[in-house]
């Protein structure tokens, strides 16, 4: 690449990430609407019936997008090395002004941990969502799914704000990956040294 | 009913036997529940544990057709334990009468009474008579010691109904028998009262009339007749069947239960002579002694000015029965089967499903030249020609369907079990082309009349001379629109002249010309009054110029607290709510039970009519005469009987003065455990038999009428009944989706034991067959039927409802009528078919 930029995410990854994010926002907002009977949302969605339809189909988008997300980062996302353990013990370097973590791969440890969370919580919330949508008559599954869906929701509304913070304010230079897909090589050498090394740059 | 529905709440003990009010009279059942709320005990005796049994304090099972044995045991218990109400029995019943010593009962004659003619299957009742004194009044023994007094004969007759014998016959465990007897007989005390509720479970047997008679005997022994919370109470099966019998829709009676005249009674004088009972006892009111007034007033009502003294008031125009003619249902359809009828009106009925031996009925319909089906819906009768197993091409009958409208689409009165006539106003116009029955009749009458006027005929007068003043007439003389009120008024009757009571001086005017009659007391035998039905006289009256439809009153006053509601609508006779109520007081006129006083003699108050001291308070007394103790003017309480006494000995019935147990025509036993006569010896047999083993006979009778008794081919006792969800043969209710949804298909209730024997499970489709037909039914395997231990063996009983028919639902999924199984045999006195006890077989279909 010229201009000292290196490609960290391709066009498909970017589109998929936005699909995931946007569908997530729709799901969370409508989710809060159902949870707390927020009738103000009728000005956005029209009616709760329509909100339900939109929630369900946004869920389909989320599930499909999640599927691509999961397969996109394999097998790297699930690999552990000694550096990942060290990263964890050092709190990712977020709890001191002196950042000093071992060299990171294309996904840093935190990102790998987040991947696992999304894999589990995302699958749980999608699967349970489909059960609630399509099999509401089977009571035993509904109780299970209802818990899974709502626990997943609680965890998501904690994790995603943190994810957004970490991807913007906390780590300047990260957000451009989601828009342009490229980062300066120098930035990459500092943040994802192992990856840069593997690429032979 | 002698009493009425609301009165049931006043009982201490309610015996439900031969009925299932929780299921078939659910609204009126509330009065049974009210009685229970007041501490009453409900006893249910039934082959099956019914919905009524589910509310009972005591339930006892009994095999269908053995009610007389059961109750006979109760009579023995009452007499042996001296639980009868002695003062009542001695003073108000014929228990004290002496009977002809030549009278012999079944105990001495092994099952029959004296005077039996085996060939004719009839009794010469000469010996069933009382010994008369020199004044022509029955001799009495108030000490009840004379061996020929009714009481002793009763005791002798029922001494054979021991607990062992009764239990053997009925299958009821002995302990249960005693439990029932003990509780019910406790109402023999003056301040305890018991009532009995019965329906088709008692009447639809070859001994049906005697079933009821047995209970009447018990009620008289216990002093329960005429009392609040007592009486003998028939639960009628249709909202207005009481009205239909009151108005003479049966072949043997004219309106008001006047006997139909027979051909040999050549004139009105002979009719009055023959049918007016007489008594020599001045203390007996003998109300039927007024027969002449009622028949004459009836003739004046229907023939109006055409009926005059000179032409015997038109008596010659009344249709007459041939001597000995039986025009009952079973005979009618038998004749139709034999091709004796050209035409038939099935008016508001469905014989193809409701008639016993429905298969024979359906075949009979095919012999008609024409038939008119008048109903709200088409049914199995109107569509008989396209029924299952019928080749329409073979049927030559022309069928007309005339749509009738429902009861909410027309004005009129409905008379219920309580004898209460309640007026109903039309609420909506009839839909489509449907018409009220009286409009249809009006059309028919006009057309028939025109045919007679134009072309003459065999005997036009009976039709042409009818007044038919039922509404405004057009220029052609046809009533444009029938006014139900006009009909009601004609039924009530009019004074055709000014009427005077000539027994007082000076004669007092009791009726004004052209006014509506006050009541039947003022009816005359000389043609000066008209009355379409004497028992309804007083239902539509007039006070000066004010005309009052008494049946439309809706006043809820109940001053006695007994639920008489004397100002709500109007009941016959003369709005007397509890009949025979003179028996509810002692000889001085004080109530036996002051807490539930129906009437009470107040000697200090002045009677506004006679200006004499002494008046009855409470219900309309059953005769205004002073109490019996009054030597000069006192009267006996049972005013409809010639001798004025309650009949413990009943010589007027065809099959005996005391009820005797006989087995149903089809029964599981080879022999009657009581005597050598297995079946009622006076019933009309349609299938000729020879000898005591009535199996399939080689000679006589239609194959359709075959019956099988104690036959391995049909080993199970069967009965039929109704369900809450449907009504009668289901013509109306099968068309109500909400009802059909609850009860969609024919079923048969089977005991778990029988089901296990046959490998049947609940929900299985079963084929139920009898000697006459076959139906499929869904099995309901239940604990509610239990096998009976009868005469040392196990007898199974099953039951089916009769509300289904092939015609609707149209796919036949509902099943067909259980009357395809029932036999051609009827009660000895009424000919009502024995559909409550017959034999069947079952197999998985």
């Amino acid at each position: 690449m010229s201009n000292n930029m290196v490609k960290k995410a391709n066009a498909f990854e970017i589109m998929n990430h936005w699909a995931l994010a946007i569908s997530f926002f729709i799901l969370v907002i409508s989710g809060f609407g159902f949870l707390f009977h927020l009738e103000q949302l009728n000005s956005v969605f029209g009616s709760f019936s329509q909100m339900r339809d939109i929630h369900n189909w946004a869920g389909v988008v989320f599930a499909v997008s999640l599927f691509f997300t999961i397969f996109n980062y394999l097998p790297l996302a699930l690999s552990i090395s000694g550096d990942d353990i060290t990263w964890i013990f050092k709190g990712g370097g977020y709890f001191s002004k002196k950042a000093a973590v071992p060299p990171q791969d294309r996904l840093n440890t935190g990102q790998k941990l987040f991947y696992i969370f999304i894999l589990l919580a995302g699958m749980a919330i999608s699967a349970s969502g489909f059960v609630i949508w399509l099999m509401p008559e089977v009571k035993k599954w509904i109780y299970l799914s209802f818990l899974a869906h709502n626990i997943g929701f609680d965890l998501m509304v904690i994790a995603i704000p943190l994810h957004i913070y970490l991807g913007t304010l906390a780590n300047p230079g990260t957000f451009r990956i989601m828009v342009y897909g490229t980062v300066p090589i120098e930035w990459a050498k500092k943040r994802h040294a192992k990856w840069v090394q593997k690429m032979g740059i | 009913m002698t009493n009425h529905w609301i009165d049931v709440k006043n009982a201490d003990v309610i015996l439900v036997m031969g009925a299932n009010p929780a299921e078939n009279h659910p609204i009126a059942m509330k009065w049974v529940m009210k009685a229970k709320e007041n501490g009453a005990k409900l006893i249910v005796v039934d082959p099956r544990f019914t919905r009524t049994a589910a509310k009972a304090d005591l339930y006892a099972p009994l095999r269908s057709g053995t009610d007389i044995a059961f109750l006979g045991g109760m009579i023995k218990y009452i007499i042996d334990n001296k639980l009868y109400f002695k003062d009542y029995v001695v003073n108000y019943t014929n228990a004290v009468f002496l009977v002809n010593p030549e009278y012999k009962g079944p105990g001495e004659l092994n099952g029959i009474f004296s005077g039996y003619d085996e060939k004719a299957r009839k009794y010469d009742k000469k010996t069933w008579a009382y010994q008369m004194d020199e004044n022509g009044i029955p001799k009495k023994d108030p000490t009840l010691k004379d061996p020929n007094c009714v009481f002793r004969l009763l005791k002798k007759h029922y001494s054979r109904y021991t607990l062992d014998k009764v239990s053997d016959i009925t299958g009821t465990p002995k302990e249960k028998l005693v439990e029932v007897y003990e509780i019910y007989a406790s109402t023999g005390k003056p301040d305890r009262v018991g009532t009995e509720l019965y329906a088709m479970g008692w009447t639809q047997h070859t001994v049906g009339t005697q079933n009821i008679r047995t209970m009447s005997v018990i009620q008289l022994l216990l002093g329960n007749m005429g009392m609040a919370g007592g009486g003998i109470n028939a639960l009628r099966g249709e909202s207005n069947v009481q009205g239909s019998t009151d108005h003479g829709l049966l072949f043997h009676i004219l309106p008001g239960y006047l006997p139909s005249p027979t051909a040999s009674i050549v004139d009105l004088k002979a009719y009055i002579e023959k049918h007016t009972p007489k008594t020599k006892d001045p203390k007996s009111v003998n109300w039927w002694g007024n027969r002449g007034k009622y028949i004459t007033s009836y003739l004046k009502a229907i023939y109006g000015d055409n009926a005059a003294k000179e032409n015997d008031f038109g008596y010659a125009w009344l249709p007459k029965l041939d001597e000995g003619m039986n025009g009952s249902w079973l005979v009618l359809f038998d004749q139709m089967f034999k091709g004796k009828f050209e035409g038939f009106f099935a008016w508001g009925q469905n014989p193809a499903c409701s008639g016993a031996n429905a298969g024979k009925v359906r075949k009979a319909l095919a012999n008609l030249k024409w038939m008119v089906n008048v109903n709200l819906f088409d049914n199995e009768t109107g569509s008989f020609w396209k029924g299952p197993d019928v080749n329409s091409n073979d049927i030559q009958t022309e069928v007309f369907q005339l749509p009738a409208c429902s009861s909410v689409e027309k004005d009129g009165s409905i008379t219920n079990s309580s004898r209460l006539a309640q007026w109903r106003d039309k609420t909506i116009e009839p839909i489509g082309e449907s018409k009220p029955d009286y409009e249809i009749m009006n059309e028919l009458y006009y057309r028939v009349k025109k045919l007679y006027q134009k072309g003459g005929g065999k005997f036009p007068a009976p039709i042409l001379k009818l007044t038919w003043d039922y509404g405004e007439k057009g220029p052609d003389g046809k009533v444009k629109k029938v006014d139900a009120h006009s009909v009601a008024k004609e039924i009530n009757g009019y004074y055709l002249e000014d009427i005077f009571d000539k027994k007082v001086e000076p004669p007092k005017q009791i009726g004004k010309k052209s006014s509506l009659c006050t009541n039947f007391v003022t009816l005359q035998a000389d043609g000066t009054t008209s009355c379409g039905n004497w028992i309804f006289s007083g239902s539509y009256t007039q006070k000066e110029d004010k005309i009052i439809n008494m049946m439309a009153r809706r006043d809820k006053d109940d001053p006695t607290g007994l639920g008489l509601y004397s100002k709500w609508a109007w009941c016959w006779p003369v709005n007397r709510r509890i009949i025979y109520n003179r028996a509810s007081v002692d000889l001085q006129g004080s109530p036996w039970d002051p807490k539930r006083a129906v009437i009470k003699w107040n000697p200090a108050k002045e009677d506004p009519n006679t200006k004499k001291l002494g008046v009855w308070e409470g219900d309309v007394p059953d005769g205004p005469a002073p109490p019996m103790a009054d030597e000069k003017a006192g009267k006996y309480p049972f005013i409809m009987r010639p001798d004025g006494m309650g009949a413990i000995f009943g010589p007027g019935l065809a099959d005996g003065p005391f009820p005797e147990h006989y087995e149903p025509l089809e029964c599981p036993l080879q022999e009657n455990l009581m005597s050598k006569h297995r079946v009622n010896p006076t019933i009309k047999l349609f299938y000729a038999t020879a000898g005591p083993h009535e199996k399939a006979a080689e000679k006589g009778g239609l194959p359709e009428d075959i019956f099988y008794s104690c036959d391995m081919r049909y080993p199970y006792v069967a009965t039929t009944y109704r369900v809450s969800e449907h009504w009668q043969s289901g013509v109306l209710t099968r068309h109500q989706p909400w009802q059909l949804e609850m009860m969609p298909q024919q079923f048969v209730e089977i005991s778990k034991e029988l089901a296990a024997e046959k490998g049947i499970r609940s929900g299985d489709k079963i084929a139920v067959s009898s000697g006459r037909g076959k139906v499929w039914a869904i099995a309901w395997v239940t604990d509610r039927f239990k096998p009976f231990h009868v005469a040392g063996s196990t007898v199974h009983q099953v039951g089916l409802p009769w509300c289904f028919g092939w015609q609707y639902p149209e796919d036949g999924s509902g099943g067909d009528s259980s009357n395809l199984l029932t036999p051609t045999i009827g009660d000895a006195n009424t000919m009502i078919p024995e559909t409550k006890a017959f034999m069947v077989n079952l197999e998985k279909a």
Binding site: F32, F36, H37, E39, F48, M51, R52, Y94, S96, K97, K98, A99, A100, I132, P136, E137, K139, I142, F146, N150, D154, L155, V157, I158, A159, I160, L162, Y165, A170, N171, P172, R191 | A22, E23, M29, K30, M33, F49, R51, T52, A53, A54, K55, Y59, S724, E725, L740, E741, M742, M743, Q745, Q746, G763, D764, I778, A779, W780, T782, D783, F785
Partner: protein
């Protein structure tokens, strides 16, 4: 308006099912084609077109061939209604003035979660998946009339009136405790049982399913606390630690 109730007394019920028909008549509910399965109980279960039904319960008896109970099954109109708790659509299920749980099909989103919130398995769904159940004839009550079933019942097995008055009456009739007096905040439909509820086929201690209670009490608040908390923590972290700086930048600052 004070809270209204029905008291169902199986001891008075004669199983005539006038209540089933009256309800259908008043609510103009269509009938369905049924099949006789070996019992009078038909339709076999509540449906979107059958708001109440009688269960025919046969249990052993010492003195009779059977003990036969007729028990009305219908929405209990709970004060603490599980269906309303779990319902995601505002106004789809709502409490009427007299304390009944009524429904508005236009606001119902057809998610069918309510039957899972109900301890009595009552809600059913029509062909558009909308909630269908007894609404205690709220339209009749609004006009001062009794519910159709109570009006029709000939024996008073279904009785209607002010809840407190009805309880008082039942107590004077000898029923010390009525089923539903205290459960779920007090049920709108009370039963006068002579024996233990399980004899009549009813739950001794009806309760909203635990999963639903846990969700309502714990998971729901966690949603806004969680979201708020995550945002707050992020802000606090930024204030405390700022953005992540690489080594040269750190050195530069020092």
């Amino acid at each position: 308006m004070t809270r209204k109730s029905l008291i169902i007394s199986p001891e008075l019920c004669i199983g005539c099912r006038g209540c089933q028909t009256a309800c259908k008549g008043w609510n103009q509910l269509p009938a369905t084609k049924t099949v006789n399965k070996g019992t009078a109980e038909n339709p076999p279960d509540l449906t979107p077109n059958l708001y109440n039904k009688i269960r025919y319960v046969e249990i052993p008896s010492a003195s009779n061939p059977v003990r036969w109970l007729f028990v009305s099954q219908r929405c209990m109109h709970c004060d603490d209604a599980g269906c309303m708790k779990i319902c995601p659509a505002p106004g789809a299920l709502f409490k009427t003035e007299e304390g009944a749980v009524a429904f508005n099909k236009d606001k119902c989103i057809g998610c069918k979660l309510c039957v899972s919130g109900c301890p009595f398995n009552i809600p059913r769904y029509d062909e558009k998946d909308k909630i269908s159940k007894c609404h205690l004839c709220s339209d009749r009550i609004a006009e001062g009339l009794a519910p159709a079933c109570a009006k029709t019942c000939p024996t008073g097995a279904i009785a209607y009136g002010d809840r407190d008055t009805m309880i008082g009456k039942a107590q004077s009739a000898g029923y010390q405790k009525l089923y539903g007096e205290a459960d779920l905040g007090g049920l709108g439909i009370l039963y006068a049982f002579k024996d233990a509820p399980r004899v009549y086929g009813m739950d001794e201690h009806p309760a909203i399913p635990e999963a639903v209670v846990f969700w309502h009490k714990t998971l729901k608040p966690l949603a806004y606390w969680g979201l708020g908390g995550a945002v707050a923590v992020s802000l606090l972290h930024y204030i405390a630690f700022g953005s992540k700086k690489d080594e040269e930048e750190v050195k530069k600052d020092e």
